[in-house]
């Protein structure tokens, strides 16, 4: 029996990521909880504003993926104001989005997820970052990463109108057309991105797939969960990040449901648990059966891995070839003409690189499309407002992102609901943490730094962005693991944040003790 955890203000202020591991009387893992602090007042902040403010507001929720919120928001406004953007506008939006995807996936692979493999799961945490990757693999790799970020940020700035917090998207289209000179520059960026994505896949091949120990780790039961998979597909059932239908396949790969963004509430419900502010979305038609996998449980996953699992293939040639290799290497054959899903969560890192390649190729297609420079980039809304509200959906790097706005006849917001990418994965993340903990903790063995990292690896695969899952700012995410006895007594605490400080949500910067304090004037 585990004891229910109540969250008091002190624990809430502890930090962003808290993992609580409850042991049973025999000293085995009974339950694992992942806690984050709650931020307040987002709906209240929005209600009463003009709906068209939302693309700018929501892009500020989070410093990590303003572009995803911006696009989900303008698509929700398209729907709310019953307006269809011209073809060029849709293509500009998608082009802008591909530049963002390349940047985001690159940063994750080299700064966050990849270091576990490149430096090894037992490397000290101070080395398991971009700095460590550069020291191990060489300066050239660091330059490539920085160059990749730089050239794509330039595209985001050109199209989005600002370096951060884009303003390009407007209901019914985009605020300005793309000039031929800009198009040529973006086309060149896309070509470089393809080269960079292939280079990254090559690194993954050499370092992970060619290493038997790593491959065994990827394929081990410690990181396996057979859940439903979610992702957006085009009309040929190929992955698409900007538009299409949301497709869900069951753990064996059979299509379970396919629906348009506006129907999300018919298919997805959110489970509330007493021990956390996080909500746990699940498939309504299957129902909530707790934190368990299998076809009988409504838990689903929305990640780069699940997006491949729902797709019959990739829409670009190089990514398609890599898709086939992925399933040939990790999959368990075909069923009903489709590859059976891969459920090994660490394979998400490879899936992310395939998406990096797809985003790069798609970016080139769009940049080379003659229609992209057409001047018709906006359909002006005619003043109608859809009574049931507008829903916009994109695939964010961390999962399907849904914005839903309801407004009155004048377009003033009365209700706002967001389901952000990471939120989809709250239940699978909790399950993966438990599975990983079970693999390394038990029988009174001491919990070490290495143990902590094995548990961390389980959630890093999901690339969880707590920034907007909790609507909080990005920054250092101190991780605290507490091992507790059944009655709630803390047996052991490990804090990954090396400041050792307790208390306070972490703003980006932390001052060291003794640093000069201004006396003021």
């Amino acid at each position: 029996m585990t004891k229910r955890i109540s969250i008091d203000p002190i624990t809430r202020l502890e930090g962003h990521g808290r993992i609580e591991i409850f042991l049973d009387d025999a000293g085995e893992v009974a339950n694992v909880y992942f806690q984050v602090p709650e931020l307040r007042g987002f709906e209240r902040f929005c209600v009463g504003r003009a709906a068209e403010e939302m693309p700018v507001i929501t892009s500020r929720i989070c410093g990590v993926c303003p572009e995803a919120h911006h696009l989900a928001s303008v698509k929700a406004l398209d729907d709310l104001f019953l307006v269809e953007p011209p073809p060029a506008a849709k293509k500009i939006r998608e082009l802008f989005y591909m530049a963002f995807f390349v940047t985001d996936h690159t940063t994750h692979f080299y700064a966050l997820g990849g270091p576990d493999f490149i430096l090894g799961p037992d490397a000290p945490p101070s080395e398991r970052n971009l700095l460590g990757v550069i020291r191990k693999v060489g300066i050239d790799i660091g330059r490539k990463v920085i160059d990749c970020r730089k050239r794509n940020h330039e595209v985001i700035k050109t199209l989005g109108g600002r370096p951060i917090h884009p303003v390009g998207g407007v209901p019914g289209g985009w605020s300005k057309p793309v000039e031929e000179e800009q198009r040529r520059a973006i086309e060149e960026v896309a070509r470089q991105n393809i080269g960079f994505a292939l280079f990254s896949l090559d690194i993954f091949n050499k370092i992970v797939l060619s290493n038997r120990d790593y491959l065994d780790m990827v394929l081990s039961d410690s990181y396996l969960h057979k859940t439903y998979s979610m992702g957006t597909v085009d009309d040929g059932n190929r992955a698409n990040f900007y538009e299409g239908l949301v497709r869900v396949v069951d753990p064996d790969g059979r299509e379970f449901v396919k629906y348009s963004a506006g129907e999300y509430a018919d298919h997805v419900a959110e489970r509330v648990e007493p021990w956390t502010y996080l909500k746990f979305p699940y498939l309504k038609a299957v129902g909530w059966k707790g934190f368990v996998d299998g076809a009988g449980s409504g838990v689903y996953c929305a990640t780069p891995l699940s997006r491949l699992n729902v797709s019959d293939g990739m829409a670009t040639p190089l990514a398609q070839a890599e898709f086939e290799r992925f399933y040939e290497t990790l999959g368990e054959g075909k069923a009903g003409g489709r590859h059976r899903p891969v459920h090994h969560r660490l394979a998400t890192h490879w899936a992310r690189l395939i998406e990096l390649l797809y985003a790069s190729e798609r970016m080139l297609e769009l940049a080379a499309d003659p229609e992209i420079t057409r001047k018709e980039v906006r359909t002006i809304p005619d003043g109608r407002v859809k009574v049931t509200g507008g829903v916009g959906c994109v695939e964010a790097p961390r999962g399907t992102l849904t914005h839903h706005y309801v407004a009155d006849a004048k377009g003033v917001l009365t209700k706002v609901n967001l389901i952000v990418g990471t939120t989809n994965n709250h239940a699978p993340i909790s399950m993966s943490l438990k599975r990983a903990a079970e693999g390394v903790i038990g029988k009174g063995k001491p919990v070490t730094e290495g143990v902590l990292n094995r548990i961390e690896m389980a959630f890093r695969a999901y690339d969880p962005c707590l920034s907007c899952a909790t609507h909080s700012l990005p920054g250092s995410m101190p991780l605290v693991v507490e091992v507790k006895a059944a009655e709630g007594r803390i047996l052991q605490t490990i804090r990954r944040d090396d400041t050792g400080r307790v208390g306070g949500t972490p703003p980006f910067l932390r001052k060291a003790p003794g640093a000069e304090e201004e006396s003021g004037s």
């Binding site: 500020r60 929720i61 101070s126 700095l131 920085i146 940020h153 700012l473 703003p507 910067l509 640093a515």
Partner: protein, 160 residues
């Protein structure tokens, strides 16, 4: 001519986390006649800030900062004075210090002087565009302080 960048960091819609932006906005208008000073706002973590610094001779970074003082306390630190957690558990980026070290390894041209101003926040858990009172009071102090440090030096030896 020596070039300076001023960066306000934070989330402009998360109450006191918006203080860096507020200071930046104020400084932008006060420094408008200084052709060699750029003022920008950023919302992201270490790598993005490091990237923004490249090519400048001098930098001032302003953000909310936990220093253990009362809300509105003002801190002034060098990058060495930050408790950079170099761990990989960072949300989506490295810390500022790790990013600066990365730049060093890559041979990127970083400013010779980087100065960080921090303001102790009160509330960073609630959405809102207004600063809490104590933090709002700190804004003019920080603005004046930054302006003083950026005033053209009277001693030629000091101009780096």
């Amino acid at each position: 001519m020596s070039r300076t960048i001023v960066i306000g960091v934070g989330n402009p819609i998360l109450t006191d986390d918006g203080v860096g932006w507020r200071v930046a906005r104020e400084l932008r208008s006060r420094l408008a006649d200084r052709g060699n000073v750029d003022v920008i706002e950023l919302c992201a973590g270490g790598i993005a800030i490091m990237e923004a610094l490249v090519g400048y001779d001098r930098a001032v970074v302003v953000d909310s900062m936990e220093g253990g003082g009362k809300p509105g306390s003002v801190y002034r630190v060098a990058p060495d004075g930050l408790e950079g957690t170099r761990n990989s558990a960072c949300a989506h980026d490295t810390t500022f210090r790790a990013a600066l070290e990365t730049a060093g390894l890559l041979g990127l041209a970083l400013p010779g002087r980087i100065e960080i101003w921090g303001i102790e926040p009160g509330d960073v858990d609630t959405f809102g565009e207004d600063l809490s009172e104590a933090v709002a009071h700190a804004v003019p102090r920080v603005v004046d302080g930054v302006l003083r440090t950026l005033a053209p030096s009277r001693n030629p030896k000091e101009s780096a």
